[in-house]
Amino acid sequence: MSGHLLSLLLFLPVLGAVVIWMLPARAARGLTALVMLATLAAATSVLVVFDPGGPRFQLLERVLWVASLNVHYQVGVDGLSMLFLPATALVFLGSLVANWNLVHDAPRLHYSLLLLLQCATLGIFCALDTVLFFFFWELTLLPVYILLARWGATAGSVRVAARYFLIMLAGGVPLLLAFVLLACSQSVPTFDLLALLAAPLPRSTQYAVFMLCLVGFGVKVPLVPLHTWLPQFALAAPGSLTALLVGLKVGAYGLIRFAIPLAPDAAQDLHWLLAGLGTLTLIYGAVGILAQSNLRVGLACASICHVGLAVLGLAAFTASGAQGAVSLLLSFSVATGGAFVLLEFLRQRTGSTDINSLGGAAKTMPLLASGFLICGLAGVGMPGTSSFPGEFMLILAALWSHTGAGMAALFGLAIAAAGFLSLYRKAFFGPATRRQVLEAEDLRPREWAVLVILITLIGAIGLYPGPWLEIVRPAAEAWAAGVAR
C-alpha cells in the first residue's frame, strides 16, 4: 500500500472533484470536507511511513508517461518536501472551514475547483520530473482564476484574477524554457530530476538555467521587484484563497528544489544576487507592513518579508540554512494560513479587515483576537513559536555568510514585528466604536477547532522543535553537499 501512497494522496482530491458532480449540490460541502480529511490522513501517514534515516528520496513511483519525450510520472518525497504535504492538507482544510457558509451559488463548481487546486498544490511538492512539476505548477492557475473571478471579495476581483493569471503564465515561460534547456543539455534528453541532479552541467548553461528559474520562481515567491500582484491579490481574493496562495510557499520551494541544486555553480557565483534579492524583499516587506492600514495586506507583506529571509538564508548554501528555510516556510504556511483564515472569520463578522473600521475588536471577540495574536507572533518569529527555530538558523546562516545583509535582516525583522504589533493594537484594542464590532460574536465551535489545531501545532513545534528539524536535517545536509560540489 505504501508503495502508492503519494499517488493515492494526489488522486483522492481529483476523485472527490469528480464524485461531487454525481451527488446533489447540497452534499458538495460535506463531501469536500470528508475528502480533505482523508487527504490529511494520507498526508500524515506519509509522515509515518517516511524513514528519516533511509535513502534521500522515498515513496518513489515512476511510470512512463510520454515515452517519446522521455517524460515520466515520477513522484517521491525527501525531508525537504515531505512536511509540506500535511501542511498543505491542513491549510486547505482551514480554508474550507473559513468559507463554510459563504458558498451559496454553484457549490459543486466551487468545491471541485478547490479540490483540483489541492491536487495541483500537493503535486508541486511531490513531483520529481520537471515536466510533471510544470504540469502541476500551471494546473493551479485554472482553479485559482475561476475561484477568484467568480467568488472574489470585491468588484474588481475579475480584473485581479486575469492579472494574476497572466503574470503567472508569463512567469511560467522562463521556467519552461529552463526545463527544456536542462533536458536538451543532456546526451539523452531527460526531464528526470534525479538524473539531472546527478549530471553536472557546463557553467554557461547553469547560468542560463539559474537566471530563468530565478525569474520564474521569483514571480511566485514573490521576490521584489516581481511582487506587484500580491497586495492587490490579498485584497481582492476571498480570505480562504489568500490563505492558500500566500500561505503555501511553492515559489520558495521551487528555488530550494530546482533552481539552486540544478545549477549549483551558477548559484554559488551569483550568491550576491540571491542574498541581495532576499534582503531587498525582506526590507520591502517589513517597511510595507508599516504603511498598511489593512490587516490582510499587512499579513501579505509579513509573508513577503519572511520569504525574503528564507532566500537570504539559502544563499549561505549550508545545511543549516536549508534546514532553517524549510522549517520557516513550513511554520509560515501554518501560521499565515491560520492568520488569513482568522481574518476571514473577522471579515465575515465586521465586513472589513481595515484597521480604520475595526478598533476594539478584542473586547467582543477575545478568542479570535488571541488566536490572531498567536498566529501573528509566530509570523514575526517570536521565541516559543514554531517559526523561531527556523528563523534563528536562517539568521545565523546569513550572519555567517553575508554579515552585512544579516545585520540588515535583523533590523528588518524588528521593523516587521513593530509594524505587526502596531497594526494589531489599532485593530483589536482601543475603544470599539462601530456597531458591527460591538455586536460581533466570538468564534463558533467549528472555527474554534481550527484555531486549537493551529495553536497546538505552533506551540508544540515551537517548544519542542527537535523531531521536526531532525526530519529535515539529513535531506538538508544532502542538499548542501550537492550544492557545494
Partner: protein, 499 residues
C-alpha cells in the same frame, strides 16, 4: 532520387480504404440531398458523418506509424490519381472527421433552417477536405480545394446570419480565388519544371516532381506561389483579411470551422512545399519566421481591439496559425511534430470556442462584447468550456497543446536560440490575455440590466462541447500514441533539411 517510398493498399491487405474514405462523404452528400428536407435526411447526415469518423479510426489502426513510408497507397495513372496516408495526414483526417460529426450535432442544436441541405453541403465540404488530405497530386489538391471552397461559399450564401453577409462573402471569394490562383500557378511552374527536365512530359505527382525539382529562380517562384497561395487559405498574417469579416457575418460556427478547424494550409506546406522546394525553403526560412513572429504579436494586438467576440476569435486564429508556421519552418523534427499536434489542438479548441459562441448567439442574438454580460450565471458549463478551449490554445497542461508547445520550444531553441523562443512563448501569453479578456467581458461582467435571463444549457449543447472537451483532454493526457503516430513521418521530413 525522390526520397519517397510507399506501400500499395493490396500489399497491406483489406480494402482500398482511402478510396472509400473519399467516396463515403460524397455518396452521403448525394443521398442526403436526395432526401430533401425529410427528417431522414438529418439522420442520414449524422450517420454518414459518424461512419466517416469510424472509417478514419479504422484507417489509423491499419497504418504502421513506426515507418516513415507512405501507406495504403492507391494509384490510377491515367487520371494522375494517387493517394496515400501516413502518420501526419491521419492526424488531420481524424480532426476533419471529428469536427464534421460535431458540426452535424451543432447544426441540429442551433435549429438551422433546412438542415437536410446543410448536411449535404457539409458532407461535400468534408469530401473536399479528405480529398486534399490524402492526395499526392498537386492538381488534385487544387481541385479538392476548389470543391471545399465552393461548399463553404454556398454555406455562407444560404445561411448567413446578418446583413453584411454580401460584403463578407465577396471578400471571401476574392481572397480565396486569388489564393487558389496563386497555388495553381505554383503547380504549373512545378509541372513545367518537370516537363523541362523529363523531355516534355508534364506531371503533378509528388513522387515525380520531387525527382525533377525546378532550378534556382523557378524554385523560388514555385515556393512563393505555393506558399502565398496556401497562406491565404491558412490564413497567415498579412493575408488574413477575409477571415474576420466572414467570422463576424457568416454562418457562425460551421463556415469558420470548415475553413480553419482543419489546418490544410499547414498540412500542404508539410506535404508539398517543404519537399518540393527545399532550397528555396532554406533560403527564405528566416523571412518566413520573421513574418510569423510579427504576425503573432500584431494579430494579438488587433485581437485586443475587437468589440465583437466572433471577430476576436478570428484574430486569435491568425495569431496562433503564425505559431504553427514557426513550428513548420523550424525544419526540425520536434518542431514539425509539435506543429502537427498543435494544429490538431488549435483546430479542436477553436472550433469548440466557435460552437460556444454559436450557442451564445442563439440565446442573445448578438456577439458584441458590450451587449453580452453575466452569462456565467446561466450557462456555467458553456462558459467553462469556452475558458478551457481558450486555455488549450495557450497550452494548458492536460491539453495536447502542452506537449506540443514543449516540442516547438525544443526545436526553436535548437534552431534560433533562446531570444526568439521567448518571444514566441510570450506571444502565447498575449493570446491568453485577449482570450481571458473576452471571457470576462462576455461571461463574467455584470451588465447594466443585471444578468440576462437566457435559456439553460441544453443536452445537445452538453453533448457537442462535452465531446470536444473529452477528445481534447484524452489526447492531452495520453499524448504518447499521437507522438508515436507522427514521429517517423516528421523525422523523415526533417531529414531532408539536414545539411
Amino acid at each position: 532520387m525522390s526520397g519517397f517510398s510507399e506501400i500499395l493498399w493490396f500489399e497491406q491487405g483489406g480494402l482500398p480504404l482511402l478510396a472509400i474514405l473519399q467516396l463515403l462523404p460524397l455518396g452521403g452528400a448525394a443521398i442526403v440531398f436526395a432526401f430533401k428536407e425529410r427528417t431522414t435526411a438529418v439522420v442520414a447526415g449524422k450517420a454518414f458523418a459518424l461512419a466517416e469518423l469510424l472509417l478514419c479510426i479504422v484507417v489509423s489502426s491499419r497504418i504502421n506509424p513506426a515507418s516513415a513510408t507512405l501507406q495504403l497507397a492507391e494509384r490510377f495513372a491515367p487520371l494522375g490519381y494517387h493517394v496515400v496516408v501516413d502518420g501526419l495526414s491521419i492526424v488531420f483526417l481524424l480532426v476533419a472527421a471529428l469536427l464534421t460529426v460535431l458540426m452535424t450535432f451543432y447544426g441540429m442544436s442551433r435549429g438551422m433552417i433546412s438542415p437536410g441541405r446543410l448536411f449535404a453541403v457539409l458532407l461535400v465540404a468534408e469530401a473536399g477536405l479528405v480529398g486534399m488530405l490524402v492526395t499526392l497530386n498537386v492538381a488534385w489538391f487544387a481541385l479538392f480545394s476548389a470543391l471545399e471552397l465552393w461548399a463553404v461559399t454556398y454555406l455562407l450564401r444560404r445561411w448567413a446570419s446578418s446583413r453584411a453577409e454580401t460584403q463578407a462573402l465577396a471578400r471571401f471569394v476574392q481572397y480565396q480565388a486569388f489564393g487558389l490562383a496563386l497555388f495553381v500557378a505554383g503547380c504549373l511552374v512545378l509541372g513545367w519544371g518537370h516537363a523541362d527536365a523529363r523531355g516534355g512530359r508534364w506531371s503533378f505527382d509528388l513522387f515525380e516532381l520531387a525527382g525533377a525539382m525546378p532550378a534556382d529562380r523557378f524554385q523560388t517562384a514555385a515556393f512563393y506561389l505555393l506558399f502565398y497561395g496556401l497562406a491565404v487559405r491558412t490564413p497567415l498574417f498579412p493575408l488574413h483579411g477575409w477571415l474576420p469579416n466572414m467570422a463576424q457575418h457568416g454562418l457562425i460556427a460551421v463556415a469558420p470551422a470548415l475553413m480553419v478547424g482543419v489546418k490544410v494550409g499547414i498540412y500542404a506546406m508539410l506535404r508539398f512545399v517543404l519537399p518540393l522546394t527545399p532550397a528555396a525553403v532554406l533560403y527564405w526560412q528566416p523571412y518566413v519566421i520573421g513574418f510569423a513572429m510579427a504576425g503573432v504579436f500584431f494579430t494579438a494586438a488587433l485581437a485586443f481591439q475587437q468589440t465583437n467576440l466572433r471577430r476576436l476569435l478570428a484574430f486569435a486564429v491568425v495569431s496562433h496559425t503564425s505559431l504553427l508556421v514557426i513550428g513548420v519552418f523550424s525544419l526540425h523534427e520536434a518542431g514539425i511534430q509539435g506543429a502537427v499536434l498543435l494544429a490538431a489542438n488549435f483546430g479542436l479548441a477553436v472550433t469548440g470556442m466557435w460552437f460556444v459562441v454559436g450557442f451564445v448567439f442563439r440565446r442573445t442574438g448578438t456577439t458584441e462584447l458590450d451587449e453580452l454580460s453575466g452569462l456565467f450565471e446561466r450557462i456555467p458549463f458553456l462558459a467553462i468550456a469556452f475558458l478551457i478551449f481558450g486555455l488549450a490554445i495557450v497550452g494548458m497542461p492536460g491539453t495536447p497543446g502542452f506537449d506540443a508547445a514543449h516540442l516547438i520550444l525544443e526545436a526553436s531553441i535548437d534552431n534560433f536560440g533562446a531570444l526568439s523562443t521567448v518571444a514566441a512563448a510570450l506571444g502565447n501569453v498575449a493570446a491568453a490575455g485577449f482570450l481571458l479578456w473576452a471571457f470576462q467581458r462576455a461571461f463574467l461582467s455584470q451588465g447594466k440590466h443585471g444578468s440576462p435571463d437566457v435559456d439553460r444549457t441544453t443536452p445537445m449543447e452538453y453533448l457537442v462541447c462535452g465531446i470536444a472537451l473529452l477528445a481534447m483532454l484524452v489526447i492531452g493526457f495520453f499524448t504518447e500514441p499521437w507522438l508515436h503516430l507522427t514521429e517517423a513521418a516528421s523525422q523523415s521530413l526533417a531529414a531532408r533539411f539536414v545539411q
